[in-house]
């Protein structure tokens, strides 16, 4: 186990260095210049040169990369070229709202997706199955920003159930939850559609296998067959997709963040890319990549807990 964790840590470091290196060079490869962005309409050649020197952009790219790696190894991701604040601190500030939305969205997705998938599989070919699959098709097909606007127009504006703004700085757990509900619902329902479809197909595959037929022949109660035999076996692919979609939610909730006016990692990184805020992009990519790698490691460990055949030594 210790060896496994050490290997995971090594993989994490290699992956992070690789990803941040790619981000470093990609940002410098795309057209645009932070100094020009900041000076914009009033840029003069002299002002541009002064600002570039101050930002260290007058150095050759390989030298900039060396300085960046050296500082990053010491935990210093630099300061945002636009706001002058430490880049990592600015990114950390965007993590809690993103993580909250991703966790709440996934909770809703699992609560809806898994039971609906199981029901559809158990009642394959029935009206219930058809209805669940139609709903799932809708969830996958409708863009999340459209679902968001429809939710605001109906649940917020017409019915007055939830606020249109998906975040608040007002204190209070329930107040926070009230603002979170609508964005989490929209994000969750779009992910629930994937989970429902996958759960259904995984369950159908397991329910068609010999050991289920034998269990039925031996008179094992149907409830036990579904929950103890079939569902536990179907859980591995479902867990895999939950892991992948969670990472997706963390980084790509940007559309939900935009529609519901929530702060978050996605919108912070997008803003940084648009303003060519190199340090902020690098810090953001580092945090996102670390989250995804750690999540996948955690999932590997969970697989082992569920299926002894996959247990690590």
């Amino acid at each position: 186990m210790l060896f496994y964790l050490a290997r995971c840590a090594a993989q994490l470091i290699v992956a992070l260095v690789g990803i941040v290196t790619v981000a470093f060079f990609l940002m410098r490869a795309i057209p645009g210049d932070p100094a020009l962005y900041m000076l914009g309409d009033f840029a003069t050649a002299e002002a541009l040169a002064t600002l570039r020197a101050r930002l260290g952009l007058d150095l050759p790219v390989w030298q900039q990369y060396g300085v960046f790696l050296l500082r990053a190894a010491q935990g210093d991701m630099g300061v945002s070229v636009v706001t002058g604040q430490p880049a990592l601190a600015e990114i950390w500030a965007a993590v809690p709202p993103s993580a909250t939305l991703a966790v709440a969205g996934m909770a809703i997705a699992i609560c809806f997706g898994v039971p609906l998938g199981i029901i559809a599989a158990v009642r394959q070919g029935s009206v219930v199955d058809l209805a669940v699959m139609l709903l799932a098709l809708g969830g996958i097909s409708f863009p999340v920003f459209w679902l968001g606007l429809v939710a605001i127009l109906t649940l917020s504006h017409a019915l007055g159930l939830f606020p249109a703004l998906g975040a608040t700085s007002e204190p209070g757990f329930w107040k926070g939850l009230h603002h979170l509900a609508l964005p989490a619902l929209v994000l969750g329902l779009s992910v629930a559609a994937y989970i429902a479809r996958l759960t259904r197909s995984a369950m159908l595959e397991i329910l068609g296998q010999d050991f289920i037929r034998v269990a039925r022949a031996m008179g094992v109660p149907e409830r036990r067959i579904v929950w103890h035999l079939a569902f536990r076996n179907a859980l591995i692919p479902v867990l895999a997709v939950i892991g992948v979609t969670f990472a997706w939610s963390l980084g790509n909730a940007i559309l939900v963040e935009a529609v519901f006016s929530r702060p978050g990692l996605g919108s912070t990184i997008l803003k940084a890319i648009l303003s060519r805020d190199y340090q902020l992009v690098q810090a953001g990519v580092l945090v996102l990549a670390a989250a995804v790698v750690l999540l996948n490691t955690a999932l590997d460990l969970i697989y082992g807990a569920i299926d002894p055949r996959l247990r690590r030594t």
Binding site: I30, D33, F42, A47, G84, E90, L155, L165, W174
Partner: protein, 518 residues
């Protein structure tokens, strides 16, 4: 310092709470004025980034700064007249080169940074002029030779040459905002997001990507504001912002641009929709050194070919004004008497092109990928195609666009100069040779320098207006820049807001606002 607010962490119990909230959402109801009756909630379209006047840009940053800082003088929000602010009055020497300002006594800096004195004024202007600061606005104070401080309440500005329009440069906006020497020195890099001013509101906190909070400065020299605090909330989507305004989750909708949303709010109950002409036009800038565009007949053919009225009536559904030059009626110096007009006339355009001997002319409009600039050039290209110009549109993401434009190699581009009602703002920026690329004079026009210098030497407002009128006539005869439309600013507010004054600066200033029933 960046802070963030978050909902508490989620455990199993919170999950159940979430499900309960979804199931019983009706039980919560939408909160109305939950933050106290004297908090004003204003919509911003995007987040803030820089609050240091030397480096400030973008309307959201300028709106926040407008509440925090003062200048020696300021624009009257309604009339754009220049009126006193931190200075109670001023005198100009007979030769027009020495400007002496008497400062308001007993003004203090926010957060115990001491008394405001003439030394702060000297520091502020010298800081903008110092190349090491990297200020965007160094050019604005270029004629300022020396700042003298004979006593703590007197400041003397010595100019290299007389400039009757110099007061514009000192107005409370960008380089005109006065900073505290002590605060800037002590806070260093952190000053960028920790501004200290003398204005009616103090900076309290910035929650990255979410909101900015200002609190009232009860010691403000103009009297304590009626509001206790202002929250500027980032709501990117205009439809969502409109619904939040109708739901009373917001009080003021700033940067309202979408014609659909404007129409929606015009009909909404309890919503007041304000609009006024802005200080800027949107322009098609033609590179006068690029092939056929060097011929003035081709440029005149193009302006005749563009159906700018249809653009305003159709694309913008009447939410913009027609522009006769790059100055708008909001400028005190504006006069369009005798300025040539170019009505939509495709036949005249074809004739001019024939006269210039131009055929198979490939023309590219480069524009930025931001709404509406990425879409309205399409009908313009269509208009040009109707007269035989093979026009295309190239849309670039903002960073790439700024870089491409600053290279100076574009055939044409879309440029809007948003700024104060100082005629130099659009005119120097678009026509002076010192603004040649990387500046915004991408037409490479070179016939305006003398007239701009003459306007600065003119003794008074009437004299300046006459010279600027000559400049407008000349530039509209030469057509290096085609003004497409004059911008129009829309702001909406809820029924509880009173005393709101909309300015023409493309910023929001809620200092005089009070809340009904509070």
């Amino acid at each position: 310092m960046a802070e963030t607010s978050m909902a508490p962490g989620f455990g199993r119990r919170a999950w159940m709470g979430g499900a309960a909230a979804l199931a019983f959402g009706a039980g919560f109801g939408v909160p109305v004025m939950a933050q106290g009756a004297r908090t004003l909630r204003v919509r911003f379209g995007s987040d803030i980034s820089v609050l240091d006047p030397a480096r400030i840009f973008q309307i959201e940053n300028q709106s926040i700064a407008g509440h925090i800082y003062n200048g020696l003088v300021q624009y009257d929000q309604r009339t754009n007249e220049i009126v006193p602010d931190l200075a109670t009055g001023h005198e100009v020497s007979a030769d027009g080169t020495v400007w002496t300002f008497r400062l308001r006594p007993n003004v203090t800096w926010h957060k115990n940074y001491g008394a405001f004195t003439s030394d702060d004024v000297k520091f502020s202007f010298e800081r903008v002029l110092d190349p090491a600061t990297g200020s965007l606005y160094r050019g604005q104070l270029a004629g300022l030779k020396e700042v003298q401080t004979p006593d703590p309440l007197t400041v003397r500005l010595v100019l290299e040459a007389p400039n009757s329009g110099f007061l514009h440069k000192l107005c409370a906006f960008n380089q005109g905002w006065i900073v505290s020497r002590r605060a800037v020195t002590e806070l260093g890099e952190r000053y960028t997001m920790n501004p200290i001013g003398t204005g009616p509101f103090m900076f309290d906190r910035w929650t990255t990507g979410n909101e900015v909070r200002l609190v009232a400065n009860t010691a403000y020299f103009g009297g304590a504001p009626a509001l206790t605090d202002i929250i500027f909330r980032v709501v990117r989507d205009e439809t969502a912002a409109a619904i939040a305004l109708e739901n009373r989750e917001l009080d003021v909708f700033f940067a309202l641009q979408s014609p659909d949303v404007i129409e929606r709010l015009r009909r909404a109950n309890g919503v007041t929709l304000l609009d006024r002409p802005a200080n800027n036009t949107a322009n098609l800038v033609l590179n006068t050194t690029a092939g056929p565009l060097a011929d003035v007949r081709v440029r005149r053919a193009m302006i005749h070919a563009l159906n700018r009225k249809a653009l305003i009536d159709g694309f913008f559904r009447g939410t913009k004004f027609e522009a006769t030059s790059v100055l708008t009626s909001t400028f005190q110096e504006f006069s369009d008497e005798g300025v040539p007009r170019y009505p939509y006339d495709p036949d005249r355009a074809r004739a001019l092109l024939r006269e210039a001997g131009v055929s198979n002319f490939r023309f590219e409009i480069t524009t930025v990928g931001l709404n509406p600039f990425d879409r309205f050039p399409v009908p313009l290209a269509n208009d040009l195609q109707q007269v035989g110009i093979q026009a295309t549109v190239r849309v670039l993401e903002r960073g790439a666009y700024v870089q491409a434009r600053s290279s100076g190699n574009l055939q044409s581009c879309i440029t809007a100069v948003v700024g104060p009602p100082d005629p130099d703002s659009p005119l120097v920026t678009l026509y002076h040779t010192r603004s040649h690329p990387p500046g915004l004079n991408t037409s490479r026009y070179n016939r305006a320098d003398d007239l701009l210098a003459e306007a600065a030497r003119a003794p008074d407002l009437a004299g300046r207006r006459a010279v600027y009128n000559r400049l407008l006539r000349q530039t509209m005869e030469d057509v290096p820049v085609i003004p497409l439309y004059a911008d129009r600013l829309f702001i909406a507010h809820g029924p509880n807001v009173q005393g709101f004054v909309q300015n023409s600066l493309f910023t929001v200033n809620a200092s005089p606002v009070s809340l009904r029933g509070a």
